[in-house]
Subunit: 477 residues, 2 copies
């Protein structure tokens, strides 16, 4: 195999050929297994249950798996096929990649572990994978990853156990994770939260395809409206920086860089084997490239959701419309601490609000419609505020457990927003199951992202302002 | 009624007679209504459906409501009765309180609004209520509140609509809220979250019973293990301070003071009519009295739960045991930023861990059992760490979506903790419905509070450390 090293090709242009992972014309599973619980079984079952194109199990010791005819090697798989998902022991992977290249495939997802993360011998094996892939113009995701998931195209090239792991449906957020287990847990959470994703990629060791490649694809991907990145460390900082620079003018990017403390950086080094790099350096890069920083996976999705559903904030002024006075106080606190303003509304706007509110309500800002309010008090306040020109964003705080606020509020809010577009609106809802089922509808019919606390809603507005300022700076430059 | 002012009695000793709100011997509902949707209907129905003792509707125009015989006034209600819940218009309330006093009741909960919060005339009316109550030795909760809830004794003296509002079952946290709507929404959330409460009081205008009275009761209440306070403003700061000083040596208190920013303070002033006071002053009082400060209702319950279920932390060292490396990194970040340590474990402890872990696992701190782990890797790591004497607390991060971690983990963890008591253990779980149903069991069988993010679990440990330091300081003093 020494000749392979000589024939080594250079790295393909950023993003080239990455599309195959999301829109393959046929997928082979190498290492497909008949044994439930095995990775090669689960990944085959996942693909079979979602993917509309042909799925080919590859296993030299089987004629049929899960009702599909099996093939002894990739070389014998019929057309159409351009993607292979690989779940064989590490030492067997180089030969599989070689065969994928000879068979004319365009992409391989290597789930197998046992490469760079286990030491020098593994690193050597990984180097061979990459060289083989490049020689054939194949793109490679992994190794040591949990796969690729693209709900709209039915690509579930993961070994997620559907009985244990919730999978989000299609949605506007693309999610790239350097940690597989964390990525899976976050998807499980996202599904329960009712969030959808456009594409999910567990990049693993990033031997070939990395964040920069995926950003290049995602910024042109019509299904993706915002991009969430979980990063522990990157080898080529300039490459990532360039990709971010080219992405944020087109689409918002939220990034979570783990390892911001000394203890965290030490843990990251021990986890991925790669140097985590200074957190401050990453934060500077994010600032300079218009990336919105997140501090936790939950926050990463919170912010990505707001950026996917709402326009950026073009100024600092927030109007708060609340059913509960206490929530208005807390929202004001949170917004102020994030550098946003909750200015008193003008006399003229307060007078207009008084005409649509109950006498006990407060027309200042927060606009406190009070616990005695009915839907129309919220809806008409929203209309007045959106028309006033005095708010760059609105934070709605309905209480769906009160008797005056009904399940029809989402549709009514959607209508007012349709009539007054361009100003971002988010909501905060404290409550149980019934409150959340109405809140989900507020997201669906009105595109208003809903958060379970004033703090998280305020942070979402902050993200819209950070991105808005970035776009202003680009426009001015 | 001028003579009433002359007969005015002084304020009763702090906490005196407050028990009647939680353990009444019979409850009358004044203003009981046959009309669904009315406050006087809902509160009667709520009491009837939960309370084991006698419930008496009072309404001069009804003979029977909801199958219960109705009485024209409190004076005619038979024994046993010592509590009245009042839902009549504000101007009629003074006479009701007078009759409650003459009838020999010990407590009234005034749900009615229209008192101090509406201006000088309302304030005068409120003054009369208090004077009447004091003359008869009656304690009064409210007015302008949403009531009292004590699940273990069946007291649901609220007008929560059970179709809209979740109600938590019995549990170890007492919750006192100055905001009614916020209190209700938080209870709705708590029920969905699976948290229980011992007592809930919406204090409203605090004309008579205030936080100090309730703290005096709660610190001796065997059902209450931690106390959560939502405060917008208090009139007598020294009174609250003294009550806190006498409570925290006995039981942990978490307090959320709204209005920490200028905008928030302005909103609070507009909401409660009372001056919010400087946030810094409150924070100083909390620090000086060992109160754990919270920044949101969610956080208030997060911290109260940890303080109710786990012993205080006696040092700063946290051992993190995680299935996902990325989560270990984030936990380390969060803990470090809160002033806690994630120190590397000793060579000896690392060696012991290596014997119980997979070869690819990391025995440093975070202890990364890896995504290939099974239950025993977590359980035995926990045992080694608890026995090592090198951790003042443990943060567990199981991933219930992985195939090696089973639904039996909670019982196994409970056993190890039983054998090694005294060191607080909390957990962080990212995931969907299945993961959370196992997580809830971890709370129930092992008493390990579970949080949906590393950040919130870290904050819970921080609260245990704040309270632990306070107890150390008291012990040293």
């Amino acid at each position: 195999m020494g000749s392979v090293l000589v024939l080594q090709s250079s790295r393909p242009p950023v993003g080239e050929g990455v599309e195959v992972f999301f829109r393959p014309r046929g997928v082979a599973v190498v290492g497909a297994s008949r044994v439930p619980g095995k990775v090669g079984y689960t990944v085959l079952r996942n693909l079979k249950s979602m993917y509309q194109g042909p799925v080919y199990p590859v296993n030299p010791r089987a004629r049929e798996i899960l009702g599909l005819p099996a093939y002894p090697s990739l070389l014998e798989v019929p057309d159409p096929v351009d993607l292979a998902v690989v779940a064989v022991p590490a030492r067997a992977v180089p030969r599989v990649v070689e065969e994928a290249g000879r068979r004319g495939l365009r992409g391989v997802v290597v789930l197998s572990a046992g490469f760079r993360e286990v030491g020098p011998a593994g690193a050597e094996l990984e180097k061979r994978l990459v060289e083989t892939a490049r020689r054939y113009g194949l793109r490679l995701v992994g190794p040591n990853c949990i796969g690729v998931y693209s709900p709209s195209t039915g690509v579930n090239a993961t070994f997620f156990d559907p009985e244990r792991q919730g999978l989000p449906g299609p949605g506007p957020i693309a999610f790239i994770s350097q940690s597989g287990a964390l990525g899976a847990a976050v998807l499980d959470w996202a599904e329960a939260r009712g969030l959808g994703v456009s594409r999910f990629v567990s990049v693993g060791n990033k031997a070939d395809v990395d964040e920069a490649d995926l950003l290049a694809f995602l910024r042109r991907d019509p299904e993706t409206r915002s991009i969430a990145l979980y990063i522990e460390g990157v080898e080529d900082g300039r490459r990532l920086r360039r990709a971010l620079e080219e992405t944020t003018p087109v689409k918002p990017v939220v990034a979570l860089k783990a390892g911001r403390s000394e203890a965290g950086a030490r843990a990251a080094a021990s986890h991925t084997g790669s140097l985590a790099g200074s957190y401050q350096v990453y934060q500077a890069v994010f600032r300079q490239t218009g990336v919105v920083p997140a501090r936790s996976p939950e926050e990463m999705f919170d912010l990505a959701l707001a950026l996917a559903l709402q326009p950026p904030m073009r100024g600092d002024r927030v109007a708060v419309i609340t059913v509960g006075g206490g929530s208005g106080v807390m929202a004001s606190d949170e917004l102020s601490e994030l550098g946003l303003q909750v200015p008193e509304l003008s006399e003229r706007t307060q007078a207009r609000l008084r005409r649509v509110l109950l006498p006990i309500a407060s027309p200042r800002n927060p606009v406190d419609v009070t616990g005695s309010a009915v839907d129309e008090h919220m809806v008409e306040s929203l209309r007045v505020v959106l028309e006033s020109g005095e708010a760059d964003a609105v934070l709605l705080i309905p209480y769906f457990n009160l008797s005056g606020i009904t399940g029809e509020l989402p549709e009514k809010i959607a209508e007012v927003i349709r009539e007054n577009p361009g100003i971002p609106v988010v909501a905060s809802v404290t409550g149980g199951a019934r409150a959340w089922s109405i809140a989900r509808r507020l997201e669906q019919v009105a595109g208003v992202p809903v958060y379970p606390s004033e703090a998280r809603a305020a942070r979402a507005l902050w993200a819209l302002r950070v991105y808005g300022r970035w776009l202003e700076r680009l426009g001015a430059g």
